[in-house]
Amino acid sequence: MKKILEGSRAIAETIKNIGVDVVSCYPITPQTHIVEDLAKFKADGEADYEYVRAESEFAAMSILVGASAAGARTYTATSSQGLLLMTEVLYNVAGMRLPIVMTDANRAISAPINIWNDQQDAVTVRDAGWIMLYGENNQEVCDLHVLAYKIAEACQIPVMVNLDGFVLTHTLETIEIIDSKSIKKYLPAFKPSEKLDPKDPLTFGAFATPKHYMEIRQELHDDVVASKKMIAKEMTSFKKYFGRKLSLVDYYGDKSADTVVVAMGSVLGTIKDAIDELKKSGKKVGVLKVSSLRPFPAEEIIKEIGNKKNVIVIDKSLSLGEEGILAGELKRSFYGNSKATITSVIMGLGGRDITKEMIKKAITQAGKSRNQAVFIGK
């Protein structure tokens, strides 16, 4: 049944319906409503997870390490500085192969201090060994959370589900929340192959000497690579269960367009409206949604747009001194595989509103081969 809900509330209801065992959180804007709602469900007796109010994000994630290693299905959410404070633990989670699922309500990074949306926070921990998914709207974000547990537990790799802070977390829109009964059919109870148990002692994250460390890291790398197939398969299965499409990449617009815009997250909606307007004035432009930053769907992207003339990548994040993060990923993937001119456009940093007019301005950069990112803020 369709409802109208705030994004944060929709995520909290989805987490409740997934049936997690332990939630551990430290509040930070714009993630706060999610963890407040989860605390309320617990206080009102609507949920039976353990809810731990941690003293910091570092502690919140560390608590989940213990809980997950003991065999619990776990959840947390954070943003921005909170994610950065977790960084050390994030690497441990992936290294210990703990299937923790976390929401990152994407927000800018200090300094200057800024509580608004961009996507700099998550990309900063891109290389930690987590699967990183991005939703375009709150429906997709909630659906990705259900998928995230399936993938995390099947691959023994943690998953971070990203959504644009405020732009999605604080927006009320129509959504279908999957009920717990339907989720149970899709997502069986969590049965870890190994767990901490005093009767059968094990060590997680043990010391590894130069003799073993490299192979263990390579194994994690190989498994992140292999997770792409699992994600694609589970996305297909998700559609069979729930009727809604999820995909690693999704092309929208005229297939014959020479120019295509690539992006992640909520800006895709505005891009789609902008290119529909351009179509009315006779200008063909396509848009490609990328839903996963890790594993990176390079082959899928090349298959969709490798034959295009101009690719404009819109990023709400950048590697200072270089270019947008997604743009860099595309250039790396396209090398030797495509002749497209890739232009990195930076927009929406620190909550700067992105309008259709600004998207059209970004599209005018098509074919202008530049080595430096173009900033469009007006």
């Binding site: 109208i4 732009v167 604080h170 009320l172 129509t174 259709k356």
Partner: protein, 180 residues
């Protein structure tokens, strides 16, 4: 797509009003989106909230720069002359004030209606909580949302006692707006 902008002050519930409006539209069978002008909310500071209503799913995420409708919860916000400057030509505006539209010096190309929502709220709710009066006024003057949808939104959000007062406020706003 219909775009609505709500201007109020921190504490007046501009965001709640945007949400109630979107919920009412949704219960009337429409797609709807509501969001605040994200900021650091402070009591008394100007607050803006946005609503979009459409028959198909809403994808656009930008703020609303030239709305079809505006609701002004505090008439002192009109003093700088900027708030109504970017509305669509012929846009409809509802202003919470005890004055008549003709007594206010406002742009000529707008359809202005006024309602003493603060006074009515004190009378009906006993507190200057103006949201539901204005929601009723919006329903009455635009027909974009129905009373039934707005009542459902109010019942879902508030306890029975508070909902009852607010539904009375909603209905009064609905009746009064077309009398001015």
């Amino acid at each position: 797509m219909i775009e609505i902008r709500i201007h109020g002050r921190g504490g007046q519930g501009s965001v709640t009003m945007a949400e109630l409006l979107a919920e009412a539209a949704f219960y009337g069978g429409k797609e709807a989106q509501a969001f605040p002008n994200f900021g650091v909310e402070r009591r008394g500071a100007p607050v803006t909230a946005y609503v979009r209503i459409d028959s198909k799913p809403i994808r656009l995420r930008s703020q609303i720069y030239s709305p079809d409708y505006a609701i002004i919860q505090d008439a002192s916000l009109l003093n700088d002359g900027k708030i109504l400057a970017d509305l669509k030509r012929g846009a409809s505006v509802i202003i919470n004030t005890s004055k008549k539209a003709s007594e206010l010096s406002l742009p000529k190309n707008l359809k202005i209606k006024t309602i003493n929502a603060s006074g009515l709220a004190l009378e009906i709710i006993g507190k200057p909580i103006i949201n539901t009066i204005l929601l009723g006024a919006f329903a009455g003057s635009t027909g974009l949302i129905q009373l039934s949808g707005a009542e459902k939104a109010i019942k879902e959000r508030f306890s029975a006692e508070i909902a009852e007062k607010n539904i009375a406020a909603l209905r009064r706003g609905f009746e009064v707006i077309n009398q001015n």
